[in-house]
Symmetry: C2
Subunit: 280 residues, 2 copies
Protein backbone atom coordinates (compact mmCIF):
# COMPACT_ATOMS: atom_id res chain seq x y z
CA UNK A 1 0.00 0.00 0.00
CA UNK A 2 1.37 3.41 -0.97
CA UNK A 3 -0.73 5.96 0.87
CA UNK A 4 -1.59 9.04 -1.15
CA UNK A 5 -2.40 11.03 1.99
CA UNK A 6 -1.60 10.47 5.65
CA UNK A 7 -3.00 12.52 8.52
CA UNK A 8 -1.53 12.61 12.00
CA UNK A 9 -3.78 14.15 14.64
CA UNK A 10 -2.67 15.54 18.03
CA UNK A 11 1.01 14.69 17.71
CA UNK A 12 2.93 14.28 20.96
CA UNK A 13 6.09 12.21 21.25
CA UNK A 14 4.59 9.17 19.50
CA UNK A 15 2.29 10.88 17.01
CA UNK A 16 5.01 13.40 16.20
CA UNK A 17 7.47 10.59 15.58
CA UNK A 18 4.89 8.95 13.28
CA UNK A 19 4.69 12.21 11.29
CA UNK A 20 8.48 12.53 11.06
CA UNK A 21 8.88 8.85 10.12
CA UNK A 22 6.12 9.13 7.48
CA UNK A 23 7.83 12.12 5.88
CA UNK A 24 10.90 9.94 5.48
CA UNK A 25 9.19 6.63 4.54
CA UNK A 26 6.58 8.11 2.19
CA UNK A 27 8.23 11.17 0.64
CA UNK A 28 5.64 11.29 -2.18
CA UNK A 29 2.58 11.17 0.09
CA UNK A 30 0.68 14.22 1.27
CA UNK A 31 1.09 14.65 5.03
CA UNK A 32 -1.44 16.56 7.11
CA UNK A 33 -0.78 17.26 10.77
CA UNK A 34 -3.60 18.51 12.98
CA UNK A 35 -3.33 20.10 16.39
CA UNK A 36 -6.11 21.45 18.57
CA UNK A 37 -3.95 24.46 19.46
CA UNK A 38 -2.74 26.90 16.85
CA UNK A 39 0.45 27.64 18.79
CA UNK A 40 1.50 24.00 18.50
CA UNK A 41 1.70 24.22 14.72
CA UNK A 42 4.85 26.37 14.38
CA UNK A 43 7.36 23.74 15.62
CA UNK A 44 5.59 21.12 13.49
CA UNK A 45 5.86 23.28 10.37
CA UNK A 46 9.52 23.90 11.16
CA UNK A 47 10.30 20.16 11.46
CA UNK A 48 8.05 19.20 8.54
CA UNK A 49 8.23 22.05 6.01
CA UNK A 50 6.47 20.00 3.30
CA UNK A 51 3.54 18.96 5.49
CA UNK A 52 0.18 20.69 5.63
CA UNK A 53 -0.87 21.67 9.13
CA UNK A 54 -4.01 23.05 10.66
CA UNK A 55 -6.46 23.20 13.55
CA UNK A 56 -9.46 22.17 11.43
CA UNK A 57 -10.14 18.44 11.12
CA UNK A 58 -11.49 18.96 7.59
CA UNK A 59 -7.80 19.01 6.60
CA UNK A 60 -7.84 15.23 7.05
CA UNK A 61 -10.38 14.78 4.22
CA UNK A 62 -9.27 12.26 1.63
CA UNK A 63 -6.73 10.52 3.87
CA UNK A 64 -5.79 6.90 3.25
CA UNK A 65 -4.44 6.66 6.77
CA UNK A 66 -5.32 8.65 9.88
CA UNK A 67 -3.15 8.21 12.99
CA UNK A 68 -4.67 9.46 16.24
CA UNK A 69 -1.89 10.67 18.54
CA UNK A 70 -4.19 11.74 21.39
CA UNK A 71 -4.32 9.95 24.77
CA UNK A 72 -7.00 7.31 25.38
CA UNK A 73 -9.50 9.42 27.37
CA UNK A 74 -10.02 11.94 24.58
CA UNK A 75 -9.97 9.59 21.59
CA UNK A 76 -13.73 9.08 21.37
CA UNK A 77 -14.43 12.82 21.29
CA UNK A 78 -11.73 13.31 18.68
CA UNK A 79 -13.18 10.53 16.50
CA UNK A 80 -16.71 11.95 16.75
CA UNK A 81 -15.43 15.26 15.36
CA UNK A 82 -13.43 13.43 12.73
CA UNK A 83 -16.26 11.23 11.39
CA UNK A 84 -17.52 13.68 8.69
CA UNK A 85 -14.02 13.75 7.15
CA UNK A 86 -13.46 9.99 6.91
CA UNK A 87 -14.07 7.67 3.98
CA UNK A 88 -15.14 4.04 4.34
CA UNK A 89 -11.67 2.94 3.14
CA UNK A 90 -9.70 5.28 5.41
CA UNK A 91 -7.47 3.27 7.75
CA UNK A 92 -7.79 4.77 11.24
CA UNK A 93 -5.46 3.80 14.08
CA UNK A 94 -4.26 5.21 17.38
CA UNK A 95 -1.11 4.98 19.52
CA UNK A 96 -2.55 4.69 23.04
CA UNK A 97 -0.99 2.36 25.63
CA UNK A 98 -4.27 0.78 26.72
CA UNK A 99 -6.33 -1.07 24.16
CA UNK A 100 -9.41 -2.87 25.56
CA UNK A 101 -11.23 0.33 26.54
CA UNK A 102 -10.16 2.13 23.36
CA UNK A 103 -11.41 -0.78 21.23
CA UNK A 104 -14.72 -0.79 23.10
CA UNK A 105 -15.26 2.93 22.52
CA UNK A 106 -13.88 3.41 19.04
CA UNK A 107 -14.93 0.23 17.19
CA UNK A 108 -18.69 1.02 17.36
CA UNK A 109 -18.09 4.68 16.44
CA UNK A 110 -16.08 3.77 13.36
CA UNK A 111 -18.03 0.66 12.28
CA UNK A 112 -18.88 1.15 8.57
CA UNK A 113 -17.42 4.68 8.64
CA UNK A 114 -13.72 3.77 8.29
CA UNK A 115 -11.35 0.82 8.69
CA UNK A 116 -10.34 0.86 12.36
CA UNK A 117 -7.56 -1.03 14.19
CA UNK A 118 -5.81 -0.17 17.45
CA UNK A 119 -2.02 0.21 17.57
CA UNK A 120 0.36 0.51 20.49
CA UNK A 121 3.93 1.37 19.50
CA UNK A 122 6.21 0.23 22.36
CA UNK A 123 8.64 3.04 21.87
CA UNK A 124 9.36 6.36 23.48
CA UNK A 125 11.21 7.44 26.52
CA UNK A 126 10.91 9.57 29.62
CA UNK A 127 10.55 12.59 27.35
CA UNK A 128 7.22 13.74 25.95
CA UNK A 129 5.69 16.14 23.46
CA UNK A 130 6.42 16.88 19.82
CA UNK A 131 9.81 18.41 20.75
CA UNK A 132 11.03 14.91 21.73
CA UNK A 133 9.72 13.23 18.55
CA UNK A 134 12.24 11.38 16.34
CA UNK A 135 11.96 10.02 12.80
CA UNK A 136 13.74 6.81 13.86
CA UNK A 137 11.72 6.14 17.02
CA UNK A 138 10.11 3.00 15.58
CA UNK A 139 13.24 1.43 14.09
CA UNK A 140 13.20 -2.10 15.49
CA UNK A 141 10.49 -1.23 18.01
CA UNK A 142 7.56 -3.57 18.60
CA UNK A 143 4.19 -2.21 17.55
CA UNK A 144 1.29 -4.15 19.05
CA UNK A 145 -1.70 -4.33 16.70
CA UNK A 146 -4.94 -5.21 18.45
CA UNK A 147 -7.63 -6.11 15.90
CA UNK A 148 -11.18 -6.31 17.24
CA UNK A 149 -13.61 -9.08 16.39
CA UNK A 150 -15.28 -7.47 13.37
CA UNK A 151 -12.12 -6.39 11.58
CA UNK A 152 -11.48 -7.15 7.89
CA UNK A 153 -8.28 -8.99 6.92
CA UNK A 154 -7.11 -6.15 4.68
CA UNK A 155 -7.22 -3.71 7.61
CA UNK A 156 -4.74 -5.74 9.64
CA UNK A 157 -2.53 -6.23 6.58
CA UNK A 158 -2.51 -2.54 5.62
CA UNK A 159 -1.80 -1.43 9.19
CA UNK A 160 1.08 -3.94 9.37
CA UNK A 161 2.59 -2.70 6.12
CA UNK A 162 2.28 0.89 7.35
CA UNK A 163 4.10 0.31 10.66
CA UNK A 164 6.71 -1.89 9.01
CA UNK A 165 7.44 0.93 6.58
CA UNK A 166 8.28 3.05 9.65
CA UNK A 167 10.76 0.39 10.80
CA UNK A 168 8.61 -1.37 13.41
CA UNK A 169 8.07 -5.07 13.93
CA UNK A 170 4.39 -5.89 14.27
CA UNK A 171 2.98 -8.18 16.95
CA UNK A 172 -0.70 -9.15 16.96
CA UNK A 173 -2.63 -9.41 20.24
CA UNK A 174 -6.29 -9.15 21.07
CA UNK A 175 -7.10 -5.98 23.03
CA UNK A 176 -7.70 -7.69 26.40
CA UNK A 177 -4.58 -9.85 26.14
CA UNK A 178 -2.67 -6.71 25.19
CA UNK A 179 -3.72 -4.96 28.39
CA UNK A 180 -2.78 -8.01 30.51
CA UNK A 181 0.69 -8.30 29.01
CA UNK A 182 1.45 -4.61 28.86
CA UNK A 183 0.40 -4.17 32.50
CA UNK A 184 3.26 -6.48 33.44
CA UNK A 185 5.89 -5.52 30.93
CA UNK A 186 5.36 -1.75 30.83
CA UNK A 187 2.91 -0.34 33.37
CA UNK A 188 4.20 -2.35 36.34
CA UNK A 189 7.85 -1.37 35.69
CA UNK A 190 6.79 2.26 35.56
CA UNK A 191 4.82 2.09 38.80
CA UNK A 192 7.63 0.24 40.54
CA UNK A 193 10.32 2.61 39.29
CA UNK A 194 8.38 5.48 40.85
CA UNK A 195 8.03 3.62 44.16
CA UNK A 196 11.74 2.77 44.00
CA UNK A 197 12.81 6.39 43.48
CA UNK A 198 10.69 7.44 46.45
CA UNK A 199 12.06 4.66 48.69
CA UNK A 200 15.64 5.40 47.62
CA UNK A 201 15.14 9.04 48.52
CA UNK A 202 17.50 11.84 47.66
CA UNK A 203 20.38 11.48 50.11
CA UNK A 204 22.20 8.83 48.09
CA UNK A 205 21.85 10.51 44.70
CA UNK A 206 25.50 11.68 44.48
CA UNK A 207 26.56 8.03 44.55
CA UNK A 208 23.93 6.76 42.11
CA UNK A 209 25.52 4.34 39.66
CA UNK A 210 24.33 2.80 36.38
CA UNK A 211 22.11 0.26 38.18
CA UNK A 212 20.03 2.96 39.84
CA UNK A 213 19.97 5.02 36.65
CA UNK A 214 18.71 2.19 34.46
CA UNK A 215 16.23 0.88 36.98
CA UNK A 216 14.60 4.24 37.61
CA UNK A 217 14.94 5.98 34.21
CA UNK A 218 11.24 5.61 33.28
CA UNK A 219 10.17 7.25 36.55
CA UNK A 220 11.16 10.63 35.06
CA UNK A 221 8.32 10.32 32.53
CA UNK A 222 5.32 12.67 32.36
CA UNK A 223 3.19 12.06 35.47
CA UNK A 224 -0.15 13.10 34.00
CA UNK A 225 0.23 10.73 31.08
CA UNK A 226 1.30 7.85 33.28
CA UNK A 227 -1.48 8.41 35.81
CA UNK A 228 -3.90 8.16 32.88
CA UNK A 229 -2.29 4.97 31.61
CA UNK A 230 -2.22 3.28 35.03
CA UNK A 231 -5.84 4.25 35.73
CA UNK A 232 -6.87 3.16 32.24
CA UNK A 233 -5.46 -0.30 32.87
CA UNK A 234 -5.95 -0.41 36.63
CA UNK A 235 -7.46 -3.90 36.96
CA UNK A 236 -4.47 -5.53 35.28
CA UNK A 237 -1.95 -3.20 36.93
CA UNK A 238 -3.40 -3.97 40.38
CA UNK A 239 -3.12 -7.71 39.70
CA UNK A 240 0.53 -7.31 38.73
CA UNK A 241 1.22 -5.13 41.79
CA UNK A 242 -0.19 -7.90 44.00
CA UNK A 243 2.30 -10.34 42.47
CA UNK A 244 5.11 -7.88 42.95
CA UNK A 245 4.24 -7.32 46.61
CA UNK A 246 4.21 -11.06 47.17
CA UNK A 247 7.69 -11.31 45.61
CA UNK A 248 9.06 -8.47 47.72
CA UNK A 249 7.68 -10.16 50.84
CA UNK A 250 9.33 -13.47 49.91
CA UNK A 251 12.60 -11.64 49.45
CA UNK A 252 12.31 -9.80 52.76
CA UNK A 253 11.53 -13.04 54.58
CA UNK A 254 14.57 -14.75 53.07
CA UNK A 255 16.76 -11.82 54.17
CA UNK A 256 15.30 -11.77 57.69
CA UNK A 257 15.92 -15.50 58.08
CA UNK A 258 19.32 -15.21 56.39
CA UNK A 259 18.05 -18.00 54.15
CA UNK A 260 20.76 -17.95 51.50
CA UNK A 261 19.49 -20.85 49.31
CA UNK A 262 16.02 -19.30 48.97
CA UNK A 263 17.55 -15.92 48.23
CA UNK A 264 19.87 -17.32 45.54
CA UNK A 265 16.95 -19.24 43.99
CA UNK A 266 14.78 -16.11 43.96
CA UNK A 267 17.48 -14.05 42.27
CA UNK A 268 18.52 -16.84 39.95
CA UNK A 269 15.05 -17.48 38.56
CA UNK A 270 14.77 -13.76 37.80
CA UNK A 271 18.24 -13.71 36.22
CA UNK A 272 17.33 -16.66 33.96
CA UNK A 273 14.17 -14.94 32.71
CA UNK A 274 16.00 -11.67 32.14
CA UNK A 275 18.93 -13.31 30.34
CA UNK A 276 16.52 -15.07 27.98
CA UNK A 277 15.42 -11.70 26.68
CA UNK A 278 17.34 -11.07 23.49
CA UNK A 279 19.49 -7.95 23.28
CA UNK A 280 20.20 -6.25 26.58
Amino acid sequence: MKPGKISVLAPGLIGGSVALACARAFPDSTLFVWSRKKESLAPIQKSLPKAKTGTDLSGATGSDIVVLGAPAPVLADLVRSLLPHLGAQTLVTDVASVKASVEKELAPLLQGRARWIGSHPMAGSEDSGFAAARADLFQGAPVLLTPGKSIGADTFRDASVFWQALGARVIQLDPEEHDRQVARISHLPHAVAAALVRAAGTSGLPVAGPGYRDTTRVAAGPSDMWAEILLGNRTEVLASLRDLRQGVEQLATALEKQDRPTLVKFLDEAAQIRRNLSGS
Copy 2:
Protein backbone atom coordinates in the same frame (compact mmCIF):
# COMPACT_ATOMS: atom_id res chain seq x y z
CA MET B 1 51.95 9.40 44.15
CA LYS B 2 53.58 7.28 41.47
CA PRO B 3 53.34 3.69 42.68
CA GLY B 4 56.41 1.59 41.94
CA LYS B 5 54.45 -1.64 42.37
CA ILE B 6 50.72 -2.40 42.41
CA SER B 7 49.20 -5.76 43.31
CA VAL B 8 45.67 -6.80 42.44
CA LEU B 9 44.43 -9.89 44.29
CA ALA B 10 41.52 -12.12 43.24
CA PRO B 11 40.47 -10.14 40.18
CA GLY B 12 36.86 -10.53 39.09
CA LEU B 13 35.02 -7.88 37.07
CA ILE B 14 36.05 -5.02 39.36
CA GLY B 15 39.50 -6.20 40.40
CA GLY B 16 40.25 -7.20 36.82
CA SER B 17 39.22 -3.77 35.61
CA VAL B 18 41.50 -2.23 38.25
CA ALA B 19 44.40 -4.29 36.86
CA LEU B 20 43.63 -3.30 33.25
CA ALA B 21 43.16 0.36 34.21
CA CYS B 22 46.45 0.36 36.20
CA ALA B 23 48.37 -1.05 33.23
CA ARG B 24 47.14 1.93 31.24
CA ALA B 25 47.39 4.64 33.96
CA PHE B 26 50.74 3.52 35.39
CA PRO B 27 52.65 2.03 32.45
CA ASP B 28 55.98 2.23 34.34
CA SER B 29 54.76 0.51 37.50
CA THR B 30 55.24 -3.17 38.22
CA LEU B 31 51.87 -4.94 38.24
CA PHE B 32 51.34 -8.20 40.11
CA VAL B 33 48.06 -10.10 39.78
CA TRP B 34 47.30 -12.95 42.16
CA SER B 35 44.64 -15.61 41.80
CA ARG B 36 43.92 -18.48 44.14
CA LYS B 37 43.46 -20.80 41.15
CA LYS B 38 46.26 -21.48 38.71
CA GLU B 39 43.81 -21.94 35.80
CA SER B 40 42.60 -18.35 36.23
CA LEU B 41 46.04 -16.96 35.39
CA ALA B 42 46.14 -17.71 31.64
CA PRO B 43 43.45 -15.18 30.58
CA ILE B 44 45.03 -12.61 32.89
CA GLN B 45 48.45 -13.12 31.34
CA LYS B 46 46.91 -12.84 27.89
CA SER B 47 45.20 -9.51 28.68
CA LEU B 48 48.17 -8.18 30.66
CA PRO B 49 51.31 -9.56 29.01
CA LYS B 50 53.62 -7.24 30.99
CA ALA B 51 52.14 -8.11 34.39
CA LYS B 52 53.54 -10.69 36.79
CA THR B 53 50.99 -13.27 37.88
CA GLY B 54 50.97 -16.05 40.43
CA THR B 55 49.09 -18.06 43.04
CA ASP B 56 51.54 -17.23 45.84
CA LEU B 57 50.82 -14.10 47.88
CA SER B 58 54.55 -13.51 48.37
CA GLY B 59 54.41 -12.05 44.85
CA ALA B 60 52.80 -8.98 46.43
CA THR B 61 55.92 -8.22 48.49
CA GLY B 62 57.14 -4.65 48.08
CA SER B 63 53.82 -3.28 46.80
CA ASP B 64 52.96 0.37 47.26
CA ILE B 65 49.30 -0.44 46.65
CA VAL B 66 47.38 -3.69 47.12
CA VAL B 67 43.82 -3.91 45.78
CA LEU B 68 41.73 -6.76 47.15
CA GLY B 69 39.25 -7.91 44.50
CA ALA B 70 37.70 -10.68 46.60
CA PRO B 71 34.10 -10.55 47.92
CA ALA B 72 33.46 -9.34 51.47
CA PRO B 73 33.05 -12.72 53.20
CA VAL B 74 36.56 -13.93 52.28
CA LEU B 75 38.48 -10.67 52.72
CA ALA B 76 39.58 -11.29 56.32
CA ASP B 77 41.07 -14.69 55.46
CA LEU B 78 42.83 -13.22 52.44
CA VAL B 79 44.28 -10.39 54.51
CA ARG B 80 45.53 -12.80 57.22
CA SER B 81 47.48 -14.69 54.54
CA LEU B 82 48.68 -11.43 53.05
CA LEU B 83 50.00 -9.85 56.29
CA PRO B 84 53.58 -11.24 56.07
CA HIS B 85 53.98 -9.62 52.64
CA LEU B 86 52.84 -6.11 53.56
CA GLY B 87 54.92 -3.12 54.61
CA ALA B 88 53.71 -0.44 57.03
CA GLN B 89 53.45 2.04 54.15
CA THR B 90 51.60 -0.29 51.77
CA LEU B 91 48.21 1.17 50.87
CA VAL B 92 45.63 -1.63 51.08
CA THR B 93 42.09 -1.24 49.77
CA ASP B 94 39.22 -3.44 48.63
CA VAL B 95 36.32 -3.16 46.16
CA ALA B 96 33.45 -4.78 48.12
CA SER B 97 29.92 -3.35 47.97
CA VAL B 98 29.37 -3.42 51.75
CA LYS B 99 31.66 -1.44 53.95
CA ALA B 100 30.71 -1.38 57.66
CA SER B 101 31.38 -5.09 58.22
CA VAL B 102 34.52 -5.01 56.07
CA GLU B 103 35.86 -2.03 58.03
CA LYS B 104 35.11 -3.80 61.32
CA GLU B 105 36.99 -6.91 60.26
CA LEU B 106 39.91 -5.49 58.32
CA ALA B 107 40.82 -2.33 60.25
CA PRO B 108 42.02 -4.22 63.37
CA LEU B 109 43.86 -6.82 61.26
CA LEU B 110 45.77 -4.16 59.32
CA GLN B 111 46.28 -1.66 62.16
CA GLY B 112 50.03 -0.82 62.20
CA ARG B 113 50.69 -3.42 59.49
CA ALA B 114 49.66 -1.38 56.44
CA ARG B 115 47.67 1.72 55.50
CA TRP B 116 44.08 0.51 55.11
CA ILE B 117 41.03 2.23 53.58
CA GLY B 118 37.85 0.68 52.15
CA SER B 119 36.80 1.47 48.56
CA HIS B 120 33.57 0.77 46.74
CA PRO B 121 33.72 1.50 43.01
CA MET B 122 30.13 2.02 41.82
CA ALA B 123 30.78 0.52 38.42
CA GLY B 124 30.18 -2.78 36.72
CA SER B 125 27.26 -4.35 35.04
CA GLU B 126 25.22 -7.51 34.94
CA ASP B 127 28.35 -9.33 33.76
CA SER B 128 30.92 -10.77 36.12
CA GLY B 129 34.40 -12.28 36.21
CA PHE B 130 37.72 -11.22 34.72
CA ALA B 131 36.42 -11.89 31.20
CA ALA B 132 34.04 -8.92 31.59
CA ALA B 133 36.73 -6.57 32.96
CA ARG B 134 37.42 -3.33 31.07
CA ALA B 135 40.25 -0.79 31.34
CA ASP B 136 37.74 2.10 31.13
CA LEU B 137 35.26 0.77 33.70
CA PHE B 138 36.01 3.57 36.16
CA GLN B 139 35.93 6.48 33.72
CA GLY B 140 33.55 8.95 35.35
CA ALA B 141 32.35 6.34 37.86
CA PRO B 142 31.88 7.24 41.52
CA VAL B 143 34.25 5.45 43.89
CA LEU B 144 33.10 5.64 47.49
CA LEU B 145 36.01 5.83 49.93
CA THR B 146 35.08 4.89 53.49
CA PRO B 147 37.84 5.88 55.90
CA GLY B 148 37.62 4.42 59.39
CA LYS B 149 38.17 6.42 62.59
CA SER B 150 41.89 5.75 62.99
CA ILE B 151 42.96 6.50 59.43
CA GLY B 152 45.83 8.86 58.61
CA ALA B 153 45.18 11.81 56.31
CA ASP B 154 47.80 10.64 53.79
CA THR B 155 45.99 7.32 53.37
CA PHE B 156 42.80 8.99 52.21
CA ARG B 157 44.76 11.33 49.94
CA ASP B 158 46.81 8.56 48.34
CA ALA B 159 43.75 6.36 47.79
CA SER B 160 41.93 9.32 46.17
CA VAL B 161 44.84 10.03 43.85
CA PHE B 162 44.99 6.35 42.89
CA TRP B 163 41.29 6.07 41.96
CA GLN B 164 41.32 9.43 40.22
CA ALA B 165 44.21 8.21 38.08
CA LEU B 166 41.88 5.37 36.95
CA GLY B 167 39.28 7.97 35.89
CA ALA B 168 36.98 7.76 38.93
CA ARG B 169 35.46 10.59 40.95
CA VAL B 170 35.95 10.03 44.65
CA ILE B 171 33.20 10.48 47.24
CA GLN B 172 33.93 10.18 50.98
CA LEU B 173 31.45 8.48 53.30
CA ASP B 174 31.82 6.79 56.65
CA PRO B 175 31.33 3.03 56.41
CA GLU B 176 27.90 2.94 58.14
CA GLU B 177 26.54 5.85 56.11
CA HIS B 178 27.87 4.11 53.00
CA ASP B 179 25.85 0.99 53.74
CA ARG B 180 22.70 3.03 54.41
CA GLN B 181 22.95 4.97 51.15
CA VAL B 182 24.07 2.08 48.98
CA ALA B 183 21.22 -0.09 50.30
CA ARG B 184 18.82 2.40 48.78
CA ILE B 185 20.65 3.40 45.65
CA SER B 186 22.09 0.03 44.61
CA HIS B 187 20.94 -2.97 46.63
CA LEU B 188 17.24 -2.03 46.71
CA PRO B 189 17.09 -1.47 42.92
CA HIS B 190 18.65 -4.87 42.40
CA ALA B 191 16.25 -6.65 44.74
CA VAL B 192 13.28 -4.86 43.21
CA ALA B 193 14.37 -5.57 39.64
CA ALA B 194 14.43 -9.28 40.48
CA ALA B 195 10.95 -9.10 42.02
CA LEU B 196 9.76 -7.14 38.99
CA VAL B 197 11.04 -9.71 36.49
CA ARG B 198 9.29 -12.46 38.44
CA ALA B 199 6.01 -10.53 38.65
CA ALA B 200 6.17 -9.62 34.96
CA GLY B 201 6.64 -13.27 34.07
CA THR B 202 7.62 -14.57 30.67
CA SER B 203 4.44 -14.35 28.59
CA GLY B 204 4.91 -10.68 27.70
CA LEU B 205 8.60 -10.88 26.82
CA PRO B 206 8.10 -10.65 23.03
CA VAL B 207 6.60 -7.21 23.55
CA ALA B 208 9.18 -5.98 26.07
CA GLY B 209 10.18 -2.42 25.24
CA PRO B 210 13.01 -0.16 26.44
CA GLY B 211 11.24 0.61 29.73
CA TYR B 212 11.18 -3.03 30.79
CA ARG B 213 14.73 -3.57 29.54
CA ASP B 214 16.18 -0.64 31.48
CA THR B 215 14.21 -1.30 34.63
CA THR B 216 15.17 -4.96 34.85
CA ARG B 217 18.70 -4.99 33.35
CA VAL B 218 20.49 -5.45 36.68
CA ALA B 219 18.38 -8.51 37.49
CA ALA B 220 20.50 -10.52 35.04
CA GLY B 221 23.50 -10.13 37.36
CA PRO B 222 25.27 -13.02 39.13
CA SER B 223 22.89 -14.39 41.76
CA ASP B 224 25.50 -15.74 44.15
CA MET B 225 27.30 -12.42 44.31
CA TRP B 226 24.08 -10.49 44.82
CA ALA B 227 22.78 -12.85 47.49
CA GLU B 228 26.05 -12.20 49.35
CA ILE B 229 25.71 -8.43 48.97
CA LEU B 230 22.07 -8.34 50.08
CA LEU B 231 22.79 -10.59 53.08
CA GLY B 232 25.90 -8.57 53.94
CA ASN B 233 23.81 -5.40 54.13
CA ARG B 234 20.52 -6.98 55.18
CA THR B 235 19.56 -4.57 57.98
CA GLU B 236 19.69 -1.56 55.68
CA VAL B 237 18.22 -3.45 52.71
CA LEU B 238 15.27 -4.61 54.84
CA ALA B 239 14.62 -1.04 55.97
CA SER B 240 14.58 0.15 52.38
CA LEU B 241 12.31 -2.74 51.34
CA ARG B 242 9.83 -1.68 54.04
CA ASP B 243 9.72 1.81 52.55
CA LEU B 244 9.26 0.37 49.09
CA ARG B 245 6.38 -1.85 50.21
CA GLN B 246 4.71 1.15 51.80
CA GLY B 247 5.03 3.07 48.54
CA VAL B 248 3.62 0.21 46.48
CA GLU B 249 0.66 -0.01 48.86
CA GLN B 250 0.00 3.75 48.56
CA LEU B 251 0.06 3.37 44.82
CA ALA B 252 -2.30 0.38 44.83
CA THR B 253 -4.73 2.20 47.09
CA ALA B 254 -4.77 5.23 44.80
CA LEU B 255 -5.47 2.96 41.83
CA GLU B 256 -8.23 1.06 43.64
CA LYS B 257 -9.94 4.30 44.64
CA GLN B 258 -9.29 5.81 41.20
CA ASP B 259 -7.78 8.70 43.13
CA ARG B 260 -6.15 10.57 40.26
CA PRO B 261 -4.71 13.53 42.24
CA THR B 262 -2.91 11.24 44.71
CA LEU B 263 -1.61 9.10 41.86
CA VAL B 264 -0.30 12.11 39.93
CA LYS B 265 1.34 13.45 43.10
CA PHE B 266 2.97 10.08 43.80
CA LEU B 267 4.38 9.85 40.27
CA ASP B 268 5.31 13.51 40.11
CA GLU B 269 7.35 13.51 43.29
CA ALA B 270 9.29 10.53 41.94
CA ALA B 271 9.73 12.21 38.55
CA GLN B 272 11.11 15.36 40.21
CA ILE B 273 13.69 13.38 42.18
CA ARG B 274 14.72 11.37 39.14
CA ARG B 275 14.99 14.42 36.87
CA ASN B 276 17.26 16.12 39.40
CA LEU B 277 19.82 13.39 38.82
CA SER B 278 22.32 14.75 36.33
CA GLY B 279 22.86 12.80 33.11
CA SER B 280 20.23 10.21 32.28
